[in-house]
């Protein structure tokens, strides 16, 4: 493999959960950008496909001391011994050395779902059904992203298509480096609360790198040593504590259909 002559980047994001209102604009904008279809009638919150999912977290106190935050969880783009990469039998998952983005190649995926088991953040989604859009709505699909078929796993890739477009624009202008304003993932662009900051963590003077290093920033499940590139910020201590816990949500699911 030839060594890349491009400067290495490490794209990541910082999400301020104290600003997030849980509106869901990021989830919906992601689905628009990445051609994720509307839910099958039988889909539930366990079988639905949401590349970024916003969870509601409570502080465990009784009313009226209850407090909540909303936590958007995309793929964390783990940088150290990326769990989903090592388990994939098809080499359908790869860490891009130039950007640090963990890419998923649905065309190679055979749907064993081993990566879903390996992912500690539950950030991977299996296509239980073929994609179906209401009649005519397929005209609104993004031409830069291929729809996936039933039987493959998919996940957030930091809107890799937008990175390619930014690189093409930079190359056309004869530049080596992209303009940060040209590469903004759909969720970041859509957030009306301005809760998500995105950029190159390897450049110390970028807003995302400064926020990631500053007081109050944390990552989820740090003890697993996966080196995720998604940081979170909150002034509330209970949120920091919650980030270190794994949750077993025990609920009898009412099976539909």
């Amino acid at each position: 493999m030839s060594e890349s002559k491009e400067p290495k980047s490490r794209y990541g994001m910082v999400i301020d959960v104290d600003r997030c209102t849980g509106c869901g604009a990021c989830m919906v904008a992601c689905a628009v950008e990445n051609n994720v279809p509307p839910a099958n009638v039988k889909a539930t919150e366990r079988t639905g496909t949401t590349w970024v999912r916003v969870y509601r977290l409570e502080n465990g106190e009784a009313f009226p001391r209850t407090r909540t935050v909303f936590i958007p969880v995309p793929c964390q783009h783990c940088g150290h011994e990326t769990p989903c990469v090592s388990v994939c039998p098809q080499q359908a998952v790869e860490v891009d050395g130039a950007t640090g983005i963990v890419d998923q190649m649905p065309q190679r995926c055979l749907g064993c779902r081993y990566c879903m088991t390996a992912c500690p953040y539950h950030a991977r989604y299996f296509n239980w059904w073929d994609p179906v859009w209401p009649a005519g709505m397929e005209r609104t699909l993004n031409p830069d992203v291929a729809p996936r078929t039933r039987g493959v796993v998919e996940k957030c890739n930091f809107c890799h298509g937008r990175l390619h477009a930014a690189k093409a624009k930079a190359a056309a202008a004869g530049k080596r480096e992209i303009d940060p304003a040209d590469y903004v993932p759909a969720c970041v662009e859509a957030c009306p609360a301005g809760a998500i900051t995105f950029g190159d963590l390897s450049k110390p003077d970028t807003p995302v790198a400064q926020l990631a290093r500053s007081e109050g920033s944390f990552r989820m499940l740090e003890k697993l040593n996966t080196d995720p590139k998604v940081y979170y910020r909150s002034r509330q201590p209970w949120v920091h504590q919650a980030a270190e816990m794994t949750y077993a949500r025990v609920r009898e699911e009412v099976v539909r259909g």
């Binding site: 935050v69 993004n142 609360a193």
Partner: protein, 648 residues
Amino acid sequence: MSVSRRDVFKFGAGSAAGLALTPLPWKLLDDTSIWTQNWSWVPKVPRGEIKTKYSACTLCPAGCGLKARCVGEQPVSLAGVAAHPVSAGRLCPLGVTAHHVAFHPKRIRRAFRRVRQGEKYACVPSRTEDATAAVAQAIQKGSRVVVLDGRPDRTASLIYRRAAASMPNAAYVPVRSEEGATLRALAELTGAAPGTLAFDWSGARTVVSFGTPLLDGWGGPGQQLEGKRLIQVEPVLSRTAGRADKWLAAKPGTEAFVALGIAQIRTGEGMALADVEAITGIRKEDLEALAREFSDQGPSIAIADGGYGPQEVRAVAALNLISGCIVRRAGIPMPAGFEELPAPAELASLPDGSVQVLIAVEPYGLPAALVKRKLAKDALVVALASCLGGLTRRADYVVPVPAALEAVCDTGAPEGASAAAFGIAGALMPAPEGVADAAAFLASVVPGLPAEEAVLQARAEAIHKSGRGQLFRFASGEASAVKDVSAEDFWTALNEGACWTDTAPAAFKVAANPGPAVTLEPPKADAAYPVTALGSGWRAASGEAPVSPLLTKIYQESELRQASDVAALNPATAKALGLEEGREVRVESRAGSATLRVALDPGIMPGVVRLSCGPSFEYAAGAADPADASLLCKLGDARTVPVRLSRA
């Protein structure tokens, strides 16, 4: 050489082991993955020239600026317009997917009639001309006609008002949303003309919100609260309460008494704190702290746009007369010929059974029980809608109109803006053939009505003639004074993506006397229906308002938002009633009942059940079904409804 059976097996096993060491099986597995993903039924992406166009979202009155990425003439994604003076580049989940509404599974493209067949109704194809003829005949007989506007305060609404004024026995009735209730009450208290008052958001330091979803759809995506202290008064930990600096959990139906407590401390006219504490459940110390904050951390805004009754809103609105954070804004200049129109009527004030012809424009989120009471027996109902839902289920004729982004219309200033604003939401997609807007339908009934586009242009001319304000162009992000732009350029810029904002409004001098006292009655306990049902909804997504099918991401596929088949309870309430999460619960009121699914939420006050007002993703329901799908319409029309819960 003889080859034994054992040799064959040995060769076979050796070949298999050898093959596994080659790339061949992995290559075949890889190729099989690819071959089994190229099915003809997986949609192909569109191809074409990529363009950028600008418009505005019209799904709610906020009118947020839109930047559309288009493949050919079809928008494929929408984003906010950076530096937009009103929406500040923000969009809510509805705005992000506004271009999907045109493809909604319940989209209406042809007119139809509902005809009774025995006990049931059937839908038969019809023509717009048949509906027109039926209405014209009824008008000739002198029937009482009401034009019910589901999307009021637009330029098209002026045409509907003119149409009603031109008919011999007709009234124009806007469907008032909760948003703007406080300012309407303030106008009544001060004698100001309706629509001329606004909150001074830039001048305010503190906002005391009574049940108003300021961070969840009210007035646009919430930018007016930046840098301000927010205190939220309501019985549940809503999205707004969760982000507020302080949340005061008042019992449902008692929030306005908190306003009387603040008034008592600041002016001596209100209600004693001990009484407020007994009614609301909020401690006296917290009420005192709130009153101090309201004055000491002012200027302050008090707002109650949460679906409260008139007296409750009035009690809260009066607080703004103490804090002095109101401005008087000039209205958007009227186009010539529309300056003198009769005042709109209110739905509640129409006599019961008096409406003989109802022409309902985009009637999705109506108070169905109230509308039904006002209709005469055998009333003729014509619904003008882009999608099935709401009143289309009861209409005799349903006539299609363009969906969002299919026709030109205007946007104004949301409640979160202090100055008046005006913009044109240009059409990004063509409407289906034969589908015309509601103004065109009314023009076929009332000859001489102008077309909507002509009135929009006349309005733009009136604005330009005033010489006030600035024109902000979406593409360049630049603003220029209106007086520096020609009338022709002004109209062209608006159609290509721009908005006008008025000059800063003047401070409103508050009268020393705040007006007549309000009369509030604390909610009475109902032993038979001991739990209080509280409706929660998202303004533009309530009832059966058409929203993108992709919103399943935040409902069905994640349960981020409460679906309309869910009853959310405090765990203590559920335990006391023997209810468990995920199980069915029967919710009964004096008006009706529903069977829902339990969800537990410790942020809900014990003794309260939160129900969702929509949206609906039930695409299979038939057009002829007269049942109203809106849950709260089944249980009652008020903001809080006494109910009882039992295991289903």
